[in-house]
Subunit: 515 residues, 2 copies
């Protein structure tokens, strides 16, 4: 499926811009803001960014840049560059960046992905000096075909003063996968997105932009770095079964008929388990409206009774998954649309399509508030990504987590807490909390206190339930009471710490893939 | 502007349903869920609800109902009924209800208003036994013209098993004000809302529904209860001036040209001050896309250079404002559209129109998180209403508050805190924090810690700044650090309490109108 650089570049002007990567990176300098392709390690500039890191290390080690991407990059790409990044947004999963964020050497801004793409277009992040975008093909008129992700590539190309294109000859020609539209910018008049079904296409399969801004074209021969795929364990499977039970209950209660609303599914082993259980469920003609099309969804592609279509902003696979994807490439192109992340995560579309959203948090609290990002409330893991776009605008929003999580030091903590120490999603946005213990609803008219009792009794691990009830009692009156007496709180935390140490084996596995 | 009941009811079948209110209320019984008209004390069923309270008190004092409204009702309407309300949503400002919510006698669910209206249609709140809706006119075919608000009246009429209409002969005939559309319900296909300008109308001026469900029609002669209007003081004015300064900065920075994006403005004295300052600003052809059209906006109606058009889900006036509104009734009808609250608060439209959102919180924290609802983090005041719909989806979201608030016990507290004790809006949704001291941005790439320093130095009152910096120092490393050492925290709070008592007079006025 690979081909030569000559075959991939059909425009003479851009062919004339081909240079060695060492030359290309000289266009990026200290103080620049660069916006790049890449989403969940797919379609990232795998050649230019490591070369840029090397360039800085050799010629200008004090350089500091602002790096804006779609979502996470692989460690191979972001790791070497991290020492030169002063500002970063809107999502990362790089250990090197995370460390620098925690020490304050790197400024990180956590933004809802749909908002980030719009803000970039609106100019809220200032001028974009250079865009670096991976492409699979340059068409005769200079317009380009992206690769395995869209993310903010289109905004980057539209806004940047200079452009570096990285033509990847090691990835397939993705012509026909993409649906490209740019957000409107005030004072132009915004328009309704004419998209009413998952498979609708409302834009072009290619990206048009000002090719005069291209300062360099380089070749890349590096395929996407594979993402790890972890099989579901028994706890994941029970969580998945509870999710399906909830969906089956809703199907009856809300007269869905045979039509399951489109599914958004996060990344990680619980998400994989749900995609697996869904396949074995009575639901047919399943549609995914999601951020990332991943390994577990590939079996759907082969089954036209089970599956109808999917839309995402990236495909992201394990090494084995990539083999299978390449084998199913043409079937995938007919059934899967890759869109800019402002569109895949658009509140307008998520709401209109009645998407069912599911994501794994770090922890939830008994009132239904969710911490998706900060360990101990202080140290960011990756960022919230699209979880808020989906939770807020979904028809049904499901937060799913094992009820406990075993830490490296041997303690087992509860993932259902009296309060979360950082809030990314308020209870208003959560309709159902699911653990391997069961599920609790937040859909009807119910006081926070009654909701709390329900979440404790249905979702918390039995080992921690008495402690959670004790907290609720200590919190006293009020409609969403919090304990404020410092002495009682201190004593509660001491009891909790003891319970974490005394948790009966075997513990549930780590829930949060990013940690 | 009033007329007889005969003139207002043009349909013979519905005219035959006219009964005394004492008869009408007998259709509502213990255990019922009733959904009613009414939004910010406008268009509420002012005759049926008090009569229902009296009916229960005389015949069935153990009755408990579920009451669903658009937003707040007046105390005259909700107060007498409060003892009989078991469950309440999605917003209230009744002292009687608030008290019962805090003691746990009434279950209250706080929901984003746009989501509430949709959830009601989706069936998430179960069957609606009776709808009670105020109307200004019944047309010959039985379709109705609403009054001064839309709220969830249309959803109530669509979903209820029985309907009671309250024909108000004391209010003007509002024909021509409304734009009525119902949300689509899965598994029907959702559609793009064809609305691209504030003044666009995409529905009908009347509500169509199944008139066979009408069990009673009653007359009401009570005009809307006036809402208090408080003139802006010096602090409010300084806040308003800072908001305008921020908007003028954005105008230049983001190339707005002459076009100010539509303004959403909350309720209260700061909001009034902003509407006043905006009138005196260089901005012309101002448009409001908001929840409530209120006193301060009336002068715009008379000035076609200053003002273009407005859209809201209610008009809500003081006694004096109502006089003026009636005088300007025809001009208002040409320039103002009243829509269902799922539409006035629609994420799709707020985002498309690039709305600038502004709301007053109870408190903000130095990281930008906002508490809009819970005093001391535990006791709800009114609910979040539409603040989340607007903050999240706005082009620019502004949270504005006096930097301090004087409590009844004489202490003066800081409205900029190290952490808010209840979070309704996370920092992701806030682009600008404004107090009378200045404004701080959360728009570019910046670590939470640097954002905190900025919010402290620009927005907090100088009296509290050293304490806030001390907290930040105590919080230590991490990208959004929180102090966790109980002893240090206890000591910090003691210092803070002392500072509240030692605040130099004169203190700023109370910021939160609901308290």
């Amino acid at each position: 499926m690979t081909s030569t650089l000559q075959e991939r570049i059909e425009n003479p002007f851009l062919r004339s811009k081909v240079v060695p990567v060492e030359e290309a990176v000289k266009h990026i300098a200290d103080g620049h803001t660069i916006a790049i392709s890449g989403f969940t390690k797919s379609g990232e500039p795998k050649t230019v960014l490591p070369a840029l890191a090397y360039h800085f290390s050799q010629t200008a080690p004090d350089s500091r840049i602002t790096l804006l991407s779609g979502a996470s990059l692989s460690e191979d790409v972001e790791g070497p560059l991290a020492p030169y990044i002063r500002k970063r947004g809107p999502y990362m999963s790089s250990a090197a960046s995370r460390k620098r964020i925690h020490t304050g050497e790197m400024d990180f801004t956590d933004v809802h992905l749909s908002a980030f793409a719009r803000n970039l277009m609106y100019g809220f992040y200032g001028e974009i000096d250079v865009a670096v975008v991976e492409v699979s093909r340059i068409r005769p008129d200079g317009s380009i075909i992206l690769t395995s992700s869209v993310g903010v590539s289109v905004e980057a190309l539209a806004r940047a003063k200079k452009i570096i294109l990285e033509v990847n000859t090691a990835v397939p020609n993705y012509t026909g996968f993409h649906d490209i539209v740019l957000p409107t910018v005030h004072p132009k008049v915004g328009w309704p997105l004419p998209l009413v079904n998952v498979r609708d296409r409302i834009g072009t399969p290619y990206v048009e932009f000002d090719i005069q801004k291209v300062v360099a074209v380089v070749e890349s021969r590096t395929p996407d770095h594979p993402v790890p795929f972890k099989a579901a364990d028994a706890t994941d499977k029970r969580i998945a079964q509870n999710v399906i039970a909830f969906l089956l209950q809703c199907k009856e209660q809300f007269d869905w008929g045979k039509r399951l609303p489109p599914i958004q599914s996060g990344v990680g082993n619980v998400a994989n388990a749900i995609i697996g259980e869904l396949y074995d469920s009575p639901f047919q003609k399943i549609r995914f409206w999601t951020e990332v099309f991943q390994d577990g969804m590939l079996r759907y592609i082969e089954d036209d009774a089970k599956f109808e279509c999917a839309s995402s902003t990236a495909v992201s696979f394990s090494a084995e998954g990539r083999q299978r994807f390449q084998h199913l490439f043409d079937r995938c192109r007919d059934r899967l649309v890759l869109r800019p992340m402002w569109l895949s995560n658009s509140p307008e579309i998520i709401s209109r399509l009645f998407v069912i959203a599911m994501n794994t948090p770090i922890e939830v609290d008994m009132y239904g508030h969710v911490n998706s990002t900060h360990i101990d409330g202080s140290r960011i893991v990756n960022g919230l990504g699209g979880s808020g776009d989906f939770f807020r605008n979904a028809y049904l929003s499901i937060v799913h987590t094992p009820s406990t999580r075993r830490l490296r030091d041997g303690r087992t903590v509860s993932c259902v807490m009296p309060y979360v120490r950082h809030i990314d999603h308020t209870e208003h946005d959560i309709k159902c909390v699911v653990t391997e213990q069961g599920y609790a609803l937040n859909m009807d008219i119910r006081s926070p206190k009654r909701r709390a009792i329900d979440i404790i009794d249905r979702c918390a691990h039995p080992h921690f339930r008495p402690l959670l009830h004790a907290y609720l009692k200590m919190a006293g009156p009020g409609d969403e009471p919090r304990a404020t007496d410092m002495k009682s709180l201190e004593s509660w935390w001491a009891d909790y710490e003891a319970a974490c140490r005394n948790f009966p084996a075997p513990a549930a596995p780590a829930a949060y893939s990013g940690e």
